[in-house]
């Protein structure tokens, strides 16, 4: 469960202060598929960084599975990321010249899991993400955009995280591939009960989630459809 209370983040550049988050509070339950939506400069990236344990808030609390993550040190945050969070990025961020399998294994390497077990787990999550076994030993730069993002999703799944954070996962994909990727997220959410937070600036992408949180100028906005919206569902 994610519990965020009065989260604030201020950036300082010289004498100029910039308040990226000005007191955000919300709760996301296990198994939810939530979209955080907002225009650029709204603070959604800052919120994503804090939710992803990449950064500390200036003030406020962030409880992830009952643990306060807001005041942890760099190395403690690294442990949280390793154990509880899976990232999917807009620009994929796979290691080039490295096989698909090795890319998915990578998070387990930092977890010190032995080679045999991690290979099995990586293969399992690649299949869950919908990638054919025939591509496992391909180099990551030999795949298409949709396939690459599926590998990235498999990598985000492999450490069995409490939360999958997807930052504009379809930003670099065409609309057809986007639908496939979003369908994959929905499947992971519905069939495996994964908690997913999708960050986007596009309404129709956000509508794939069960719930949308709107953010603008560092504050959550109350909008008509933000509590419950009938999510668009696609068949894979």
């Amino acid at each position: 469960m994610i519990e965020v209370k009065d989260l604030k983040k201020t950036y300082k550049t010289g004498d100029i202060e910039f308040q990226a988050l000005r007191g955000v509070s919300f709760v996301i339950n296990d198994g939810e598929f939530v979209a955080i939506m907002g225009p650029s400069g709204s603070g959604k990236s800052t919120l994503m960084h804090i939710l992803g344990a990449l950064d500390n808030p200036t003030s406020g609390t962030y409880f992830l599975d009952g643990k306060d993550v807001s005041t942890l040190s760099d190395d403690e945050l690294a442990d949280i990321r390793k154990d509880k969070i899976g990232f999917v990025f807009q620009s994929f961020n796979l290691l080039p010249r490295t096989t698909v399998l090795r890319n998915v294994i990578l998070p387990l390497v930092y977890d010190g899991i032995d080679p045999k077990e991690r290979e099995e787990r990586a293969k399992k999550s690649l299949l869950l993400a919908g990638l054919d076994e025939g591509h496992f030993l391909n180099l990551s730069n030999q795949l298409s955009g949709g396939q690459i993002q599926r590998v990235a999703i498999a990598r985000a799944l492999v450490n069995n995280p409490s939360l999958i954070l997807a930052d504009e996962p379809t930003g670099n994909l065409d609309s057809k591939t986007s639908e496939i990727v979003l369908a994959t997220f929905q499947k992971l959410n519905k069939e495996l009960g994964r908690t997913i937070i999708l960050i986007t600036h596009e309404q129709d992408i956000a509508e794939h989630a069960d719930r949308i949180l709107f953010i603008k100028d560092g504050l959550l906005e109350t909008r008509a459809p933000h509590i419950k919206k009938i999510a668009k569902h696609h068949t894979i």
Binding site: D74, D75, R81, D83, N93, V109
Partner: protein, 407 residues
């Protein structure tokens, strides 16, 4: 992160850009190879100098007439001063302990005439004990006998080079032939075994005659040009040297040691002086080679800094999926160490090949020491750590957010 994973990551990172890794390694290879080769050549020079001094004879103490001088300094002309006598040599033999042999020497340089040819060479007037003390062996015929010394007979033993000069290279049947020195005829009774040109004084280009004969016909006086003493062991050479100095000072009635009219040289101290010269030379060579090693290390640092910048996104990703600072630090440090280590191994092999080449070309007997190999390895690993530390630290300090955003 397990060590096997660390090696896997390092291997794939280094092999991703083989040309750059190879060129960077080249700096270390050249540095290490030159350190190994230079110290091997320096060590070889040192060995050759001390072995050429050793070849003059084992446990040797030499007494020469003339004012005291340091080794290698200006000489008053060896044999030129007249202060050592035959009775000085007798007194040393009977009164100084730990003396196992005494050879009197009278030296002179003369024009030698054989039938139709002539040469200019050193003539050493000496006695039978010279053979053992100076490590000279007879190849053909005999050396000077005690009888020859007593009678002052005109017999000569030739060094192989002198024989070649007078009778042609490798000439046989030379024993029994005659040569003329200063108008007198000498019969050849023997040829010595070649010792190899030793640089100092070539023992092969030499004619030996009895010292009594040399005194009578060549120098015309009762003085000696040199007395060679063999000590019982190398440990007592200093004691023998001191005792001889005391004895001769008394015999020559000298009370003021600054007015000393002879000079006692100890082979051990000559070797020590000569090796200190060659080891300075070795250090100099190694220092020059060391500079190239440092330049190679800077090359490593340069490459690692470029790599860190290029792989900023990768570092960000690794951090996002749970890599700690120390994981990133270790990864980049191991990359740098691996570069220098592989460079070090190739450098050692190359340095060894250079030394082998120098030896087989006959320039010098270069000797690669184990200590220089161990040192080279330690230095190359240390260079990896020193020059890899800063780039690795920079990589590990990158914030995952900035690193992921980096284009």
């Amino acid at each position: 992160m397990k060590n096997s994973d660390l090696l896997h990551e390092t291997y794939s990172a280094l092999s991703a850009n083989k040309a750059r890794s190879g060129l960077t390694m080249l700096g270390i290879i050249i540095g290490i190879a030159s350190v190994i080769a230079m110290t091997a050549i320096g060590q070889g020079a040192q060995n050759s100098v001390s072995s050429s001094i050793q070849s003059m004879g084992a446990n040797l103490v030499m007494i020469m007439p003339g004012a005291a001088r340091s080794f290698g300094g200006p000489s008053a002309g060896r044999g030129g001063a007249q202060s050592l006598t035959v009775t000085d040599a007798d007194a040393i033999a009977s009164q100084v302990s730990n003396v196992s042999g005494v050879a009197r020497e009278v030296t002179s340089r003369q024009q030698i005439i054989a039938t139709g040819t002539n040469t200019n060479t050193s003539i050493t007037g000496t006695e039978p004990s010279y053979l053992g003390i100076r490590n000279v062996a007879i190849d053909e015929g005999n050396f000077i006998s005690d009888q020859d010394v007593v009678n002052g007979t005109k017999v000569a033993v030739l060094g192989p080079t002198t024989r070649d000069d007078l009778f042609g290279v490798g000439a046989t049947g030379v024993v029994g032939q005659k040569i003329r020195i200063k108008g007198m005829e000498y019969s050849i009774i023997g040829i010595t075994v070649a010792k190899g040109g030793s640089g100092f004084s070539n023992a092969d280009d030499m004619i030996y005659i009895p010292y009594t004969t040399a005194q009578r016909y060549l120098t015309g006086n009762k003085y000696l040009g040199e007395i060679d003493i063999q000590t019982a062991s190398s440990d007592v050479s200093t004691q023998v040297q001191d005792d001889i100095t005391t004895l001769l000072l008394t015999r020559h009635n000298i009370t003021d040691p600054t007015k000393i009219d002879f000079n006692v040289l100890n082979q051990a101290s000559i070797i020590a002086t000569a090796s200190s010269v060659t080891s300075t030379f070795t250090t100099l060579l190694a220092a020059v080679a060391g500079i190239s090693l440092v330049v190679g290390g800077i090359g490593i640092m340069n490459m690692m800094l470029t790599t860190v910048t290029e792989r900023t996104r990768e570092i960000g990703l690794r951090k996002a999926i749970g890599a700690k600072r120390k994981d990133i630090n270790k990864q980049f440090l191991v990359e740098a160490i691996m570069l220098t280590f592989i460079g070090g191994v190739i450098g050692v092999i190359l340095g060894w090949l250079i030394s082998f080449g120098v030896t087989s070309l006959g320039i010098l007997q270069a000797s690669v020491s184990v200590s220089s190999i161990i040192l080279a390895f330690c230095v190359s690993a240390a260079i990896g750590i020193i020059f890899g530390y800063y780039p690795a630290r920079r990589a590990s300090r990158l914030s995952p957010i900035d690193a992921l955003r980096y284009e």
